[in-house]
């Protein structure tokens, strides 16, 4: 409130100074604060709109609790997920093992937490790689006309590849050399993450390219160009911030796809090694005994589905919140 009155005073002062028409009086111009009533940045607007999407808010809460479960959980439940207690194998729900144990007596709750860490880490990293590649290719092909045709041919080429078979192929063929060079766990992680990232950037690239092509026709780009802004600053300062919202939506949905792909690879037995649990791997290991111990299949499966469902809902809400045509209604 004080701000408003002060800015009004300033305006009145300026007007008076203008009337006096003395150049000395107007020389230190008093700039009134821009958002006089209440500062509403773009992001607070997006957040306001996002909050009104009920499904997305519920999904966000559940997703955050899943992340808490896998990140803080192991600090509270300190059982080693790889500790083999063969005498306690296949035990049911008990105080010592709230979710039971597997066929080697490893605690299922601890394994779910550890597996979730890997699954979510894979999802996030693969998404980051895919989004980085996608925005890089999308922005360059949209901004530099000469590179447009070859890069789009490349994108179409990648879209024509049979992705799941190729992923299977890559993972099978290169798991040995990579796990020898980087250690089993990290080598496989690197392999899976880069394989998923390298095969899922195409949609993002296409969306970003379309947005950039549209942006290039706008006046502020022309203005920036006319004062001689070099290409790299042009892209970083003017293009990228304006294509951020489609990139963020694509990123959110990319996490979901990456998590599903990783668990599918694990389910086909081509993912992480057995002593390195992920949700997909836990499910795969439990399928052999699903008749006797169905919950061992259900828990990791529900966690995968729930995470993906939440991420999809968040992406949906984000898309609605960031679309200026819908926002503010």
């Amino acid at each position: 409130m004080i701000d408003t009155t002060r800015s009004k005073d300033a305006q009145a002062l300026q007007a008076a100074a203008g009337n006096a028409a003395t150049p000395e009086a107007a020389s230190p111009p008093v700039v009134p604060p821009a958002g006089a009533v209440e500062t509403r940045s773009q992001w607070s607007d997006v957040w306001r709109q996002f909050r009104s999407h009920k499904g997305a808010m519920v999904a966000l809460v559940i997703f955050l609790s899943i992340i808490l479960f896998v990140s803080v959980g192991p600090l509270i439940w300190t059982v080693d997920p790889t500790y083999v207690d063969i005498r306690a194998r296949n035990s049911g729900f008990s105080l010592a093992h709230p979710l039971g144990t597997d066929q080697l007596g490893r605690d299922l709750l601890a394994r779910l937490m550890a597996g979730g860490q890997v699954s979510i880490a894979v999802g996030l990293t693969a998404m980051l790689i895919a989004i980085f590649l996608g925005s890089l290719i999308g922005v360059t092909s949209g901004y530099f006309r000469r590179l447009d045709a070859p890069l789009m041919r490349l994108t179409e080429l990648f879209l024509a590849l049979p992705l799941l078979p190729l992923l299977l192929l890559m993972v099978t063929l290169f798991r040995e050399p990579l796990s020898q060079n980087f250690g089993t766990a990290f080598g496989i992680f690197l392999l899976i993450v880069s394989a998923i990232g390298a095969t899922s950037w195409m949609q993002a690239a296409r969306i970003v390219r379309g947005e950039v092509l549209g942006l290039k026709e706008r006046e502020f780009i022309l203005a920036a160009k006319s004062i001689g802004t070099p290409a790299h600053r042009m892209i970083l300062r003017h293009i990228l911030p304006n294509v951020l919202s489609p990139i963020m939506v694509a990123a959110t949905l990319g996490i979901a796809t990456a998590i599903i792909t990783e668990s599918a690879l694990s389910f086909l037995g081509l993912g992480f090694p057995p002593d390195f649990p992920t949700w997909g791997r836990l499910l795969y290991d439990a399928v052999d005994q699903m008749v006797l111990y169905p919950w061992r299949v259900i828990f990791p499966g529900v966690l995968i589905s729930l995470t993906v469902l939440c991420v999809n809902y968040i992406g949906d809400g984000l898309r609605d919140a960031m679309d200026p045509r819908i926002r503010g209604r």
Binding site: L159, L164, L168, L268, M290
Partner: protein
């Protein structure tokens, strides 16, 4: 339109050649050895002869060109011979699988029917479920039907097929014992009894895949219907007194189906190759299962040929989808 089609067809040739080269080089770079299972007691010169017999002695460009020739020249000639009783392919070597030592295409022909029946049926069922759901949810936007439909389809494509499949097996095969959990590919449909058996074993894999497909297609159908329902021509149609039924089912539906049909066409290649995971869950002896087993066995010709066939299908159906879009929607001009 014709020139567009021809241009795209010509462009498809280098694309496919490049893809085949990528797959070939990927397999070439692999450290796996097809002779890895041969015991160490086999003397080195015999081992060398075995390598030569598998065609591994030559440098890779020669082998790649040989494979291309076999794929694009020998195999079609062989099919011609089969069809017309000629002997054009006399003395030419077909693509032979390392694993089974039989021609790759014969093995594929054995596996194709199972895949087509199960996956094709599921796609059909998925479409048949998805279109009415999409229509109703768009027509009654934000009604309880729409809300539930949105939620169910969100779940449908968030639940991975290996989880839905396993859950269905636990419920319907283990607990209720309604359906068999393993798909028996040796079953021959001869009478009503075996037909009933076939139908029962198809229920679960078809349901799993149909749910997944329906979830995606119904979303497309809904948003396409919503786009069209707000158009001016709909208001005009209502204003001239057409019944609601005619407006929605004749005017809006036809126009909304255009993008949906292209989406369906784009999804078709997955019908042939895709259901790798579902086939694995229900032990359907189809193409996906064949791919997995030949990857595990380092069967390079089989993997190469199968993956390349999938690539051809993807390229072909992308082209078909583009052409269909142009044919169905006269506003789209490619030239």
């Amino acid at each position: 339109m014709l020139s567009f089609t021809i241009r795209r067809l010509l462009l498809a040739i280098p694309t496919l050649l490049f893809i085949s080269l990528v797959i070939f080089l990927l397999l070439e770079a692999s450290p796996g050895d097809p002779l890895g299972d041969v015991p160490l007691t086999v003397p080195p010169e015999v081992r060398e002869r075995m390598r030569a017999a598998l065609g591994l002695g030559e440098p890779w460009p020669v082998r790649y060109l040989l494979w291309l020739k076999q794929f694009f020249w020998v195999e079609p000639l062989y099919w011609l011979d089969q069809a017309f009783g000629t002997d054009l392919s006399q003395g030419m070597q077909r693509i032979i699988s390392f694993q089974s030592r039989s021609p790759v295409f014969d093995v594929i022909a054995q596996r194709l029917p199972q895949t087509l029946i199960v996956v094709g049926m599921s796609y059909l069922v998925g479409i048949l479920i998805a279109i009415p759901i999409g229509i109703i949810s768009a027509y009654r936007q934000y009604s309880w039907f729409d809300q539930i439909g949105t939620f169910v389809s969100m779940i449908g494509f968030s639940m991975p097929t290996f989880f839905t499949g396993v859950v269905l097996i636990i419920i319907f095969a283990v607990n209720l014992q309604w359906f068999p959990s393993v798909y028996d590919t040796t079953l021959k449909v001869t009478d009503w009894d075996s037909f009933w058996q076939q139908a029962r074993q198809m229920v679960m894999p078809v349901t799993v895949l149909a749910l997944y497909n329906a979830a995606q297609i119904s979303r497309f159908m809904r948003s396409s219907m919503l786009d069209n329902l707000g158009q001016d021509y709909v208001r005009t149609a209502r204003a001239k007194g057409l019944s609601e039924r005619v407006v929605v089912l004749k005017h809006v539906l036809r126009n909304s189906l255009i993008p949906v049909i292209t989406v369906i066409a784009l999804g078709l290649p997955a019908v042939f190759g895709g259901a790798i995971i579902t086939e694995q869950v229900f032990k359907v002896n189809g193409l996906g299962q064949l791919l997995i087993s030949s990857i595990h066995a380092n069967d390079i010709p089989m993997v190469l040929t199968l993956t390349f066939i999938f690539a051809i299908l993807i390229v072909a159906f992308t082209l078909i989808a583009d052409i269909l879009y142009g044919v169905l929607d006269p506003r789209i001009r490619y030239d």
